[in-house]
Symmetry: C2
Subunit: 387 residues, 2 copies
């Protein structure tokens, strides 16, 4: 996979004048795909094409945090790249951080505003010059990420992106991180929130499909960490509702865990630290930060445990930049053994269900969402949508 952030000037050069880029009108006889990764504060607009058997993606970063600004950015981008390039687009796929139903996506929780007009994106609001009608797909961000995982398998670059934490019993070779297995794969991405999607394996046809999920919002179930859960529940002021895993296995969750560990050790909870600072502290062996990160992973394993019985997967893949950054944590003595114990800590382990899946982690940076969008474009170029 050859994927790179460029400036708009560089992108225009690649698309039109460049003699070597697979995106250029001078070399590109195959399809041109428009791929978009909408984030909470930064979005990425890119183009993708096959360079031989390789995937080639170039994208620009756009900072927007409202639907109005996002749509304006789409229109400005269409003008910048020009009509001739637009005419070469055969399919488009965009992904956004919120539930998607057909041609309607959102609410995008970090976007400004409170009305649905301000938080929800409609496919119909996008310029047709960039997003060809009947050949444009809107995905949830984790759905795109999961298609990205399928794409790494398809393009035989899986082992460049993933590495093993432990091998499961159902199909141990899956633990070698050489590719997807002949079974389901749960994709888990702890970031601003906790994203989850499943790659479903269809045994009869041998095909993979993706199902986007919002299981990050499952209510936390814990018989043993009641003190933290109850304290957090009281902070969240949502009545008698338990926190959601998304409240804990996320940036703000790590911050809350850090404050909890501090106060448990008798320190004042007014010593606040950001998720980034806590991660840096943990890297430097700060015991409070290490314990907070360990608790964060304990709850992550707890929700994985529920997904392990729910989907009976062969594989879990922990994804995202945080997971790549946290390499040092997974390499700490005993950290992975503890995570595995926590994963197995479920009543269904009496049947061995928690031991079945292998656990992998993303080990190299790379925008899996854009790769997933590219993969979906290949299908959308061939078929007309029913939308």
């Amino acid at each position: 996979m050859d994927i790179l952030e460029v400036t708009i000037k560089q992108l225009c050069h690649e698309l039109v004048e460049c003699d070597k880029s697979p995106l250029s009108s001078k070399t590109n006889n195959s399809a041109l795909f428009f791929v978009v990764d909408v984030g909470a504060s930064n979005s990425r607009f890119g183009f993708s094409a096959r360079g031989g058997s390789k995937v080639y993606i170039r994208f620009v970063k756009v900072s927007v945090n409202s639907i109005v600004a996002l749509i304006a950015a789409f229109n400005a981008f269409a003008q910048q790249i020009g009509e001739a390039v637009c005419k070469r687009i055969v399919a488009a796929t965009l992904n956004l951080p919120g539930p998607v139903q057909g041609a309607v996506g959102g609410p995008i929780s970090n976007y400004l505003g409170s009305t649905s007009e301000e938080k929800i994106l409609y496919l119909s609001a996008l310029p047709a010059s960039l997003c060809p009608p009947h050949h444009t797909v809107m995905l949830n961000d984790l759905e795109a990420c999961a298609y990205g995982v399928v794409a790494t398998h398809h393009f035989k670059i899986f082992s460049k992106y993933f590495t093993s934490l432990w091998k499961g019993t159902i199909n141990p070779e899956t633990g070698n991180a050489q590719g997807l297995s002949t079974g389901n794969c749960v994709v888990v991405a702890p970031g601003t929130g906790l994203g989850i999607a499943v790659v479903q394996y269809h045994a009869f046809s041998g095909k993979y499909t993706v199902i986007p999920l919002e299981f990050g919002h499952t209510s936390v179930q814990s018989e043993t960490d009641r003190k933290f859960v109850d304290a957090y529940k009281s902070d969240l002021k949502r009545g008698d509702y338990a926190p959601e895993y998304d409240d804990i296995c996320s940036g703000r969750g790590l911050e809350r865990l850090y404050a909890f560990v501090l106060s448990e050790k008798g320190n004042s909870t007014s010593q606040k630290a950001t998720a980034k600072e806590i991660s840096d502290l943990a890297r430097n062996d700060d015991p409070v930060a290490v314990e907070a990160l360990a608790l964060y992973h304990k709850f992550l394993m707890r929700v994985c445990s529920q997904m392990a019985i729910g989907f009976i997967p062969h594989t879990f893949v922990l994804c995202g930049d945080n997971v790549v950054h946290n390499k040092y944590f997974y390499e700490r003595k005993g950290a992975v053994d503890t995570m595995k114990q926590q994963m197995l800590d479920h009543s269904c382990e009496r049947y061995g269900f928690m031991s079945k899946p292998s656990m992998l982690r993303q080990s190299a940076f790379g925008n899996l969402n854009l790769l997933g969008c590219m993969y979906v474009c290949e299908g959308a170029a061939r078929k007309e949508s029913k939308l």
Copy 2:
């Protein structure tokens, strides 16, 4: 749908000599499908064919409760129907009560024995005369049931089998129970255990696929019913593990709830009653039985609530003979309003997520599993499996 239990003699007559049956060699020019519903104590072996645009299924009941006896029953059945009929089978689909991975199904929990040989069914153990290689599919029971729901939609008989409990906000007309929606549908079947599967709607292609699940084994999460949960947890003797929804929303769960309500009212818990007896008592307004059934539905709504955020479905379908039997309960004054309140009782209702799906219930008896097997056979007849 024309589906009926018959004797083996009647079945043989229909398959060979009958002048009118769509299954008969005298009339059947289209494909003959072998469909099997493996249950915990009774299994159903049947044949299916299209009678014009209608589905036609005839099956015999076989009482077996071990893998050895089941395989013997397959072989005996092949002999009874004879070689000429076997040669007309173009595809076979069977479903069984346990997780299925490709060509391996089980453990079947109610089956005798403790070794995997005694509890697990392999496709390769079945007679090829009944189950054509590369055209035979093995499904989980709820997966078959969910395909049955898709089939009722496909064959335009959905409204004969399902009726509305309430309409959701996302696509209110789905609440009219006229068919599947352009969104996911969660199929929930409380029986011997708690079965769950999802019909996934693919917006781009307009197609439905099914994903089998084991979310019935999710650990019970409850901030408000701790007394019952803790008492049950102690009974189950699984250490510090909470009960699973499968332990509560099932026959044995209803029995445990009844004992709990009795003891709460100061009666001795030694007054035991079977699930069937409790249901009959509730039908006759016995207050303890009614309260037990109400609690059973409270936990059912609780797990539906977690599925509602997880899958963001348009529809829930409560399925199975118990649901059809419990019609009187759903028609009790206030029962459905209470269930809806319980469904909405989740932190994500702050975004309106719990209000989105419509809730339907099965209102007429009919073996949806066999119908689902028939539906899957239509695909398996056309394609070769990768198994």
